[in-house]
Symmetry: C2
Subunit: 850 residues, 2 copies
């Protein structure tokens, strides 16, 4: 036996880094003096050599096992999450062994074991399709299986255990190195060069009289995480008269029917309970053990981290910390932040049957059921009738906001992770699948053709799974979102640990309330334009657009002023003194004009302007590239009345707050800046509004001015703005679009090809591009702080909720990140993990198996 | 007299940097012992104090002038091109002086002189509208003028010369410091802190018996620059009987009618000729002198660089160098590169009457006359009839290329300096006015409403002045473009001097021929997509777009291959071995689809695909922001057949050239790159095509691969690409769009506001933004050279022809710039000036006045 392959025994050197997590786990069991059957761990190097057909030491290893014993081979990659080939059991089974076993257990049990082994071996070692095998039982089934094996593989089924082991080892080693397996595990976070270890373990296959069976046990409820013995036991019963072994499935824990391991074999149950507790203490983790009982003996065959839902994962971590098994920091570090996407939204139950109609991009997590509607108007009508609906659109636009509010979920034909539907959906916590372009959308006929050709009509019920990107037929069972005390405890610990602030992007009082519920430390981005799509305001906005003169525009805007002021009064109230960063009007004005003929006719009537005049204006205002057009500060400079009204609304709301004793300092942010002079012009105008108000009310109050850095030029010139403002906030959505020259609304067409071919490592709208966009952030931060060391720096945009992006931003000295309200918990835990990982030493230095 | 204010006399210290160009010029005349009337130069500082109403030394200065003498005050800024307030003449004129002069010259002359002085003084000093004054003649006119002055200003007209001088000085000094004057001169290139000097000069106002008159003289033809005495003379004739002075205008030089200075006063003519020669020799420049004759005395009052057209400017510089008055380098340095915009295109004659219908952005220089047409089809029909036409469009698109080829000029309602019409127009040398949005375009009715309300219809004749941006009614006289021997000589000298290469952007064989005529050193950018808009190819392109599979696309593209190959064969032939850089297909495919219903119906017939299918595809392919969409290398990666066909066409053309003995190394450029992997993928595919061809023909030839750096990310990551390629070319058009987040097609709406308000110093699409975009260029160049020091670096795009931008690019180490063929001469002279100015010492170190 090479020094790299180790008989697992007390004091042997079986590390996850050389033999994989499973080998290390078994080693821990052995170290605890727990009863593990004879096991040998093959190292990564050995397995790699086996893949190249070099079996030098294997024969020697096999000699350590009893000649008659069956063995199993299980995979042992470095991380249990990385999968690996399926285990192969019952190796060593052959005609003779089958016959001998038959005498002990009867024909059915023995033949069934042998048949299953042949089929499994055929599949995994020789890639023979299992559908070829019949379902015949007993010795007839075995004969048939042997014959089919011979026909398909061209050789007789191997009878020597050694030969079977070689075949199984080779197949498993080579399967690990196949391209598809590599891609699959890379998707789960494995590095491309990750290796496989294998475990050869003796099997306990014979009933020896008395109790015989196997099962699993863990000490936490898999669904809730509460302390509870959970698991199941398969008990074999030998009918001595007929020599026939039959099985019964039962839970491990007492279930009140008398049929449980605890009641049937109380001694073994108590023993297993104690074993599991010992393992938990040693490994500092809730563990699921796989055991076998043979007479009075108990064997621990295998194990893994206890099975758990997202909710259970949080409670298990908190309970371990509260029981002082691990530290609070360890508890935080154990939570994969993206688990919260499950926790904070309804989900399709894991056991539900999924009847998939098609799939797109998982743009906003959570699941919802509803009737198909094809317009925002229909969505509102449906909501009015109290019927949940799914809004289906080619792509959503600001005109669909009300429809989205009325819908239970959104499905779009086009768009990517940062398309309008996706961004708004995430903001509202509305499940959303976008870019489902493999389904065919016939908006004229109000039909959707599923990927398999089924046709869906208006009012058909479907389910949108925004977590997986799937569109499902009918109503699978959903699990509710669940934020319990364990979640709150963990969050409080995370807040103690982290060293950057987390704010939320919130455009409306409802958003602000969600943000506040998730304990956001403020609003980092309030997009004021969304306030103008409300039906009562939209017509006024349009009237403003059609006003001929500055005075005319100002007069119309004066009517919007009190509404806008009330928006801010509400936001300030909800946020209770926490900072609120308000971005001035950003989108191009033409987004507010109706694009349909009906809409234009309505507007013509409402404003008493000839239809052709409306159409002329719509055509005239159209832009080739609206993303790069007359919007943001460019509107602020050329149509100053809008920003003046907004400044007045913000400052009047501030004044009211002061009168009510809340000494708020509002933050005003200028969008789409590319030159210093833009900031100067806007600053002067806001200052003028402020001075006028202060004089009128004989009162002093301040505001903080900031620039939204979202053009590459603004990032490069950040030093130029620094002295004019109190803060800079990097708008990484637009910055990504401009740095790549890539429209988020159009990128969906080729993004998947690009990511698949490795052109982009990841979709840069999902995970911040640390090389290109990140370089602009680094330069911007450096230059800005160089000019004004006490400047506040932040990022707002979709990346604010992405763990890797938060890590990057914290690394370059950003003070806070702002993200969708529903991402706030993710960001909070993520920030805590970053702070902890810099100083972290796990509670116990013993290498953890899982 | 302060030491700063100087009586201009031999050896006094009157420098342009302290007293302005005019003072320095007069000082030179005095130094040459030429007869200059008594003149005092007020320094910049004195004038600035006068603007603040501090007149300390002026009284003392006035005492140097004879008590009875009239004086004039002329502006003297540092550069003669910067303008300044108008001169004020005849200061000292008053009731008494008028009466005395009347005795010598009769009532009309004297009263007219006084009236004009009052009106001019009223206007310039007291801002009184001259329309208030009547046209009465004689002493009645004077009385009326004095009365109106009193009514409007509230005080009597000042009678003291001292008081008048103070008023005039104050008015001129303050006029210089007004905001509008500052903006005006800054537009002419003056720094914002530029100062004004003033000259007080004694006037020779009295006929003394014998000859009396004044005029100008220069020794070069203002229109052609050829050696020739030119100027005019206004001769006063005193009718002793009636005591009445009358005037006759005549040319200075002999004109064959006997009525010229040369014939009437030969001695004075000869003297003036000799004076002008002496001044030319001293100042090393053709000079226009302003003189006065009084009896036998000649006075030189003033002067300036000789008046000259663009053509004359070139010839004058060349002649001065050929006569060894100045060096060749001096000759090059004297040419303002933008003069060539006049030289290389037809122009509206300077003396033509301009009946302006409206104006827009001067997008492509030159003038053309033609009948209005509203579609490309009409333009082609018009061209077929041999009738010049002006193509009027809301905006041009690639579909208009053929119409543009047929038109004499283009006028568009929308767009900016880098809109489609502008870029293509400049490339073709086609006069072009874009963004004429103050005129009203009614495309439905085929009408244009001029800014003054006049209505223009199809076939009305208009003139487009692409140099000024004006749209003129009818047919003003045009001057032809004129490239003479002097131009060619100057260009040859420039080529000797410069140290960066100049290439042209050329998309078609015609462009390439123009480029070759202008002695471009190669093609720096051949945009291959323009080759596909030819009618015979467009349908094939569309068929390709509708092909369902890769194989289908490849089959269609195979039909385009021979045409595309022939394009390159021709380009290689025309360029005769000079490098040709071919950019692979760049625009989004939807640009090739018809947007009108008619066009779609035609396509439906041509391809035998149902109309609704065509429409569905058009809708499906539409993009929100085409600039940031599926184009460039993104098409190359996702629809590889196009680039493969192009690579094959380029390399087969190369192979043919080799067979003909021309060992060409084609340059292939990948557009819109943002990630290294994009380059790798395309490089691998081109290499495969190359290997296949080399094997087929048993022949070796190379190509040079390059990346077009036009996304900010590509600039930041330039080091990543460097090792994969032979060259990088910065596409500054798109790079500017993305760095600012500014669409060139949409920026027209607010660019003028932005430049007027000083938000942007200049339109960044016209002059490279050296701070933002320039920083990306600097970073890109540095990082690329760091990885591969022998990489070739260039810029292509509109900035390639802009002098300031060329200076910047040369400064950061760019090897060549590529610009529109018609900008090549500008770029050549500009590059020469940059190289010269680094080592330049003017021929004579004497400070030049002009």
């Amino acid at each position: 036996m090479s020094h790299l392959d180790t008989l697992i025994s007390v004091n042997s050197a079986v590390a996850t880094t050389t033999h994989g997590w499973r080998a290390n786990f078994l080693q821990h069991l052995v170290d605890l003096a727990l009863p593990v059957p004879m096991s040998v761990a093959l190292s990564f190097d050995t397995v790699h050599r086996i893949a190249e057909e070099k079996f030098s030491d294997i024969e020697e290893i096999l000699e350590s096992f009893p000649v008659e014993a069956l063995v199993c081979i299980r995979p042992s990659p470095q991380d249990s999450a990385w999968g690996g080939p399926s285990a192969i059991l019952s190796i060593g089974m052959n005609d003779e062994h089958c016959k001998r076993l038959m005498e002990l257990t009867g024909e059915e049990f023995s033949a069934d074991l042998y048949s299953r082994f042949i089929q499994n071996y055929a599949l995994q070692v020789d890639k023979i399709d299992t559908d070829l095998f019949s379902v015949s039982k007993g010795t007839a089934g075995v004969r048939e299986a042997l014959q089919i094996y011979q026909e398909e593989s061209g050789t007789a089924f191997p009878q020597l255990r050694k030969e079977q082991v070689f075949g199984a080892l080779r197949a498993m080693a080579q399967a690990w190195e196949s391209t598809s397996a590599r891609l699959l595990r890379e998707a789960k976070g494995a590095p491309s060069e990750s290796k496989l270890g294998l475990i050869i373990q003796e099997m306990i296959s014979y009933p020896s009289g008395g109790e015989f069976g196997n099962g699993t046990i863990q000490l936490a409820d898999p669904e809730t995480g509460h302390a509870k013995v959970a698991g199941n036991y398969c008990r074999y019963h030998l009918d001595q008269s007929a020599i026939s072994l039959t099985s019964t499935n039962m839970p491990v824990e007492r279930n009140g029917c008398g049929l449980s391991l605890e009641e049937c074999v109380p001694k073994a149950f108590a023993q297993l309970h104690e074993y599991t507790e010992r393992v938990r203490a040693k490994l500092q983790e809730e563990t699921q053990l796989t055991f076998q009982i043979q007479g009075d003996d108990i064997y621990l065959l295998d194990g893994r981290p206890a099975v758990r839902s997202a909710q259970a994962a949080v409670r298990i971590a908190v309970q371990l910390a509260q029981a002082r098994v691990i530290s609070r920091e360890d508890a935080i570090m154990r939570i994969e932040p993206n688990l919260f996407n499950e926790l904070l939204h309804r989900q399709v139950a894991p056991d539900a049957v999924r009847d998939v109609l098609g799939s797109g991009i998982a743009a906003s997590p959570g699941a919802a059921v509803g009737q198909i509607v094809f317009s925002s108007a229909a969505a509102q009508a449906s909501a009015a009738r109290g019927e949940p609906c799914i809004l289906v659109r080619r792509e959503t636009s600001p005109e669909d906001i009300r429809g989205m509010h009325a819908a239970a979920a959104v499905l779009t034909e086009r768009g990517g992770v940062t398309s309008h539907a996706a961004v708004i959906g995430r903001g509202m916590g509305l499940p959303c699948v976008v870019g489902a372009s493999r389904m065919t959308f016939r908006f004229d006929d109000e039909k959707i053709i599923a990927e398999d050709g089924r046709i869906l009509h208006q009012n058909d019920v479907i389910t949108i799974d925004g977590s997986s990107g799937q569109v499902l037929a009918g109503e699978p069972r959903l699990l509710e979102a669940f934020l319990d005390d364990a979640f709150k405890t963990l969050m409080a610990w995370a807040d103690d640990a982290r060293d950057i602030e987390i704010r939320a992007n919130a455009d409306t009082p409802e958003d602000a309330r969600t943000a506040s519920n998730f304990e956001s430390q403020g609003i980092g981005l309030c997009r004021t334009e969304h306030m103008f799509f409300d039906s009562s305001r939209l017509t006024v906005m349009r009237e403003m657009i059609f006003a001929e003169t500055a005075a005319g525009r100002a007069a119309v805007l004066a009517r919007l002023l009190p509404m806008q002021r009330d928006d801010f009064v509400k936001l300030f109230q909800i946020m209770e003194g926490r900072p609120v960063c308000i971005r001035l009007f950003d989108p191009p004005l033409h987004e507010f004009l109706p694009t349909t003929r009906t809409g234009q006719r309505e507007l013509s009537n409402a404003l008493d302007i000839p239809l052709h005049e409306i159409q002329r204006r719509v055509t005239e205002m159209a832009e080739y590239n609206p993303m790069l057009g007359l919007r943001g500060v460019r509107l602020g400079v050329t149509v100053p009345e809008i920003y003046e009204m907004q400044a007045q609304a913000i400052l009047e709301a501030t004044f009211r707050a002061h009168n009510n004793g809340a000494h708020i300092v509002p933050e005003i942010m200028i969008p789409l800046v590319s030159a210093r002079r833009e900031v100067e012009l806007i600053k002067n105008r806001i200052d003028a509004v402020q001075n006028k108000l202060c004089q009128e009310h004989d009162f002093d109050f301040n505001y903080r001015l900031g620039v939204m850095v979202e053009t590459p030029r603004a990032a490069l010139q950040a030093g130029e703005f620094a002295n004019l403002v109190e803060f800079l906030s990097f708008g990484t959505n637009d910055l990504t679009q401009m740095t790549y020259g890539l429209s988020r609304d159009d990128a969906g067409r080729f993004m998947s090809t690009y990511v698949q071919q490795g052109v982009f490592r990841e979709d840069p709208f999902r995970t911040l591009d640390t090389e290109g966009v990140g370089e602009l952030l680094r330069l911007g931060v450096k230059r800005a702080l160089n000019q004004k060391p006490n400047l506040t720096l932040s990022i707002c945009g979709e990346h604010g909720g992405n763990p890797e992006s938060i890590a990057f931003c914290r690394g370059i000295g950003i003070h806070y990140v702002s993200c969708s309200p529903f991402r706030v918990p993710v960001a909070r835990i993520c920030a805590a993990q970053l702070a902890i990982s810099e100083r972290w030493v796990p509670t116990d230095v013993a290498e953890r198996a899982v």
